[in-house]
């Protein structure tokens, strides 16, 4: 559905996006992560035909964004960063203008407006000037504008920016609902958002794509290893014993005091070594106090990927 191939974008001397490639399949919700200035917005702007690529190509539904720009734009609903709107129009006039410029046939216009207003919860503010709305409502008007023509693809640049926690939850719910029928790429700084909404994650750092996979894969971190934490009452050479267990790659001794040994055991992804550790402990007569698989928070993993 969206195919980004070796996309590079330069602004003068600076390379904002550096040869990134990825594919998004129909119906996927993809979270686009990365520190500020990593190139998320630039990538989205190329997909939405706002910026031409310096090199490489982007295809939407098999249509090149440069050669078939107008067709591509018709397929995409776009919410730019900080939801820019005409502040001197009222909400319903604004949405009517978008409906006209999107060339929604007059017979379907009413239904499209009603649907967008309902999904985004704008019923109470239709006659208000956009300029008078709170930032939460502005964001929702921006979202309504993006979904008005019922596009197959939604590109949302930080859709929850500047919202309070309740509004964030509302927008997330809307995105989740929309995601049942549409392909969505959204960018964010908030990692819980990724957890809450999307199946797939892209992490970009200094213009390069450093991670592309499911959010489960992401939780394994950069090393891609399973980690097991072991706490037990055991004698001195227990760590070496554990190191000889099948599939165990590394054993870090975290602490050793009053005969209590704390270890972190690393194994290849998907290889659960807990049973073997337990069996060894029984065999050696160690007293297991704690044995658990370590899960790392997304924050930890994000930090791993985005700092050197």
């Amino acid at each position: 559905m969206i195919e980004v191939h070796e996309l590079t974008k330069d602004f003068g001397e600076t390379r904002a996006v550096d040869a990134i490639s990825f594919r998004v399949e129909p119906g996927e919700i993809v979270g686009f992560l990365g520190p500020n200035g990593a190139g998320k917005t630039t990538t989205m702007r190329v997909i939405t035909c706002y910026l031409p690529p310096s090199s490489g190509s982007v295809e939407v539904d098999g249509l090149d964004v440069q050669e078939k720009s107008l067709e591509v734009r018709q397929k995409i609903g776009y919410l730019p960063e900080s939801a820019p709107l005409y502040l001197d129009m009222n909400v319903v006039d604004y949405l009517r203008f978008i409906a006209e410029i999107r060339a929604i046939p007059p017979t379907q216009r009413r239904g499209a407006l009603r649907n967008a207003v309902e999904v985004c919860g704008l019923g109470d503010v239709l006659q208000k000037n956009v300029g008078q709305l709170s930032s939460g409502y502005k964001q929702r008007v921006g979202l309504a504008q993006a979904i008005l023509h019922d596009p197959e693809i939604l590109i949302l640049d930080e859709p929850t920016r500047g919202l309070d926690p309740n509004q964030i939850e509302e927008v997330r719910t809307v995105i989740r609902e929309l995601g049942q029928h549409k392909t969505i790429i959204f960018s964010t700084h908030i990692l819980q958002e990724v957890q809450a909404i999307c199946q797939r994650v892209l992490i970009i750092r200094e213009g390069k794509l450093v991670f592309d996979g499911s959010k489960e894969e992401l939780s394994f971190g950069m090393t891609g290893k399973d980690r097991v934490y072991v706490e037990m009452r055991a004698n001195g050479d227990a760590a070496e014993h554990v190191g000889r267990i099948e599939n165990v790659q590394e054993v870090h001794v975290l602490s050793r005091e009053d005969g209590v040994l704390r270890l972190r055991v690393e194994a290849p992804r998907g290889k659960d070594v807990r049973e073997k550790i337990f069996a060894t402990a029984v065999q050696q007569g160690w007293v297991l106090l704690e044995l658990r698989r370590e899960t790392r928070s997304l924050e930890d993993v994000f930090r791993e990927y985005t700092t050197s």
Binding site: Y50, P84, D88
Partner: protein, 234 residues
Amino acid sequence: MSNVMVIFKKEMRAYFTSPIAYFVLTIFLVFCGIFFSLPLFLNNQASMRGAFSVILYAFTLFVPAITMRLISEEKKTGTFELLVTMPVSDVQVILGKFLAAVSLLMVAVALTSTYAMTVAALGDVDGGEIFTGYLGLALLGAGYVAVGICASSFTENQIVAFLVSLAVILFLTFIDKLVSFLPIGGTNFFEYLGAEFHFRNIERGVIDTRDLVYYASLIFVGLYFSVRALHRRF
């Protein structure tokens, strides 16, 4: 509805739902009214020539005022990004905005037809001269609007857009009058550059291709560079 018309409609609404259009129109009419009526009885002629000059000079301020926000405001507030990612071409965006500003200008000019009626009530007027005078004003106004949009396309600062278009329009209005001060040759060239010079020809009733080509090229060049400016994105 064609995309140009959608943009046109939106801009017309923006003009007339905010107080700006009424405010600028009022100032324009007061200004023209004063300088039309003051010398009217002194000259003792049933002619619109004086009025046309006044309107033409008023354009130098009026046109930058109504064109300065057209693109630069969109760039400043970020709505530009949404507008140009809609399924409309850059040419359609510029044309829609151009037609809206020209229409507002024509509304202003049409309101000055009361002067023509006044003059007609006072004496015998030359209908042909009034017709060609208004035709000339329309062409000249459209050319100035193209200049104004062009200035607005290159900056996100409305004040800069206003000052740049004011400077260019003043140059075009007065260059042919300054020619006599030039110690060098090329007077014909500078005269040809002057927008008012061509207006005088048309007003006299001489519809010469050279004058039409001048205005057509002014409009074309202005709009061409406006479209080019839309491609400059950061």
